[in-house]
Amino acid sequence: MVNIKINGIEYSVEEGTTILEACRQNGIRIPTLCWLKDINAIGACRICVVEMSGARSLTAACVYPLSKFDEGKNILTHSPAVLESRKMTLQLLLSNHNMDCLACARSGNCELQALCKELGVDDSSYFEGAKNEFDIDTSSKHMYRDDNKCINCRRCVAACEKYQGIGVIGANERGFKTEISCAFGMDLANTACVSCGQCITACPTGALSEKDDTDKVWEALADPEKVVVVQTAPAVRASLGRLSVIR
């Protein structure tokens, strides 16, 4: 066991527990963005940073396992320095994001949007300057990829690789130009993607979404010549029940 303090209060946690888990076990919530349990713990987004006594810089809570060397240390999860850092990280992400929220499939259900609200981002144009402009990949039948909304968290990459063992998406280019796409920038339709959509449900933003076919259904319903028949799969009812989804 390791004895630590979180925000000045003493806790005892098992060695190897990450700071994030230690906090969660004790009812303290640290916001995250790139972390997806079991498949993506890479400390890339810097949203979960905390202040740790003795450390020279802020520490990513999702990838820091507590050990005997941390005995007695104090971890600050919401100090002014931490809150300022999280906010600045978000503003930097927004500086290279198209912020097309009103017409976005994920508006209202976007993790980036929710964090901006939580951390009080009050000036989305704080960092002006160059922005990437990527082509939208609409090649496949089931989905599109709009990298102008991508924050490079790599959750989709991990879902494709770790859940499915497929790995048709990854990071191309480096630094500012980094883009999550297929090898050699190929269209998704020309890869061995199997259309499972696990990347979509892993995506925190509207960068990945299914192709919306509802207009076709509305059109058929309005056509007096057509008989519209509908079937539903059993699993649909198991996620539809969430009251907050349906108004």
Binding site: L36, Y163, Q164, S195, V227, Q231, S239
Partner: protein, 304 residues
Amino acid sequence: MEEANEFIDRVKNGDVLPMITSCSPGWVRYCEAYFPEFLPNLSSCKSPQQMAGAIIKTYWAKKNNIDPKNIVSVSVMPCTAKKFEIGREDQSAAGVPDVDISITTRELVKMINKAGLRFNDLPDEKFDSPLSEGSGAAVIFGATGGVMEAALRTAVWKLTGEAPDSPVEFNEVRGVEGIKFAEYNVGGTAVKVAVVSGLANAKKLLTQVKNGEVDVQFIEVMACPGGCVNGGGQVIQPAEVRNFVDIRAERAKALYSLDTARAVRKSHESPDIKEVYANFLGEPGSHTAHEVLHTSYKPSSLSK
């Protein structure tokens, strides 16, 4: 029904085993691209989406005197691969595509909201015919192990003298574990099965089967981890929820509780299924059944 029958036939005739389920279009696409050597093992049964679509445009269209060309068949699916599946070859029982539009659970939510439906205030209602009331076996198709269990309910009943009190629950194939094995004694014969979800797990199991390290007769594969309940078309839960709640297990619980509450829990006992076979298909595996409910596969040019 068709799948259980196909399995029994394969065992009796000494055809290619293990038989592998074909309900998950992500998995079928994966098999065609990454494991084409297993295509003869894939059940020739269409997926439930395509079977229902085919029945609607053949049997139901004829019964109601509607030209199948005037039917727009829409499916609501927890799945994005279903959008791909509707355009596959050999999926047009009535000479027109079995299903015309496939939308995800998320798109249905959009439609409900856009239509201004107060969904939670709507009274419960039955589906229209045909296939109005699914059996418990149909409901559990949405969870990993559910397709296997549904097939076992019917296959075991058939192989053990069609007793009405044949076993219903096969708990060994349930649960969110990525790879599951079970062995059942069916009328003196050992039936060995495996259930996988998540294609990384499918790859692991198929490699073992290929190397002769695993000996099973029947495999269920679902592309998504935990099965369709965790499909790529389902309502998106943020990481905040996913990291601390096992949505696969929670959603599966909902399906198994619906199954327990059903009076009819085996496919072959469903009055709707009986009616379609009596009036249209004849016997499972019949010539008509093959024309309407079965399909074919071919290796993908987009292999690994």
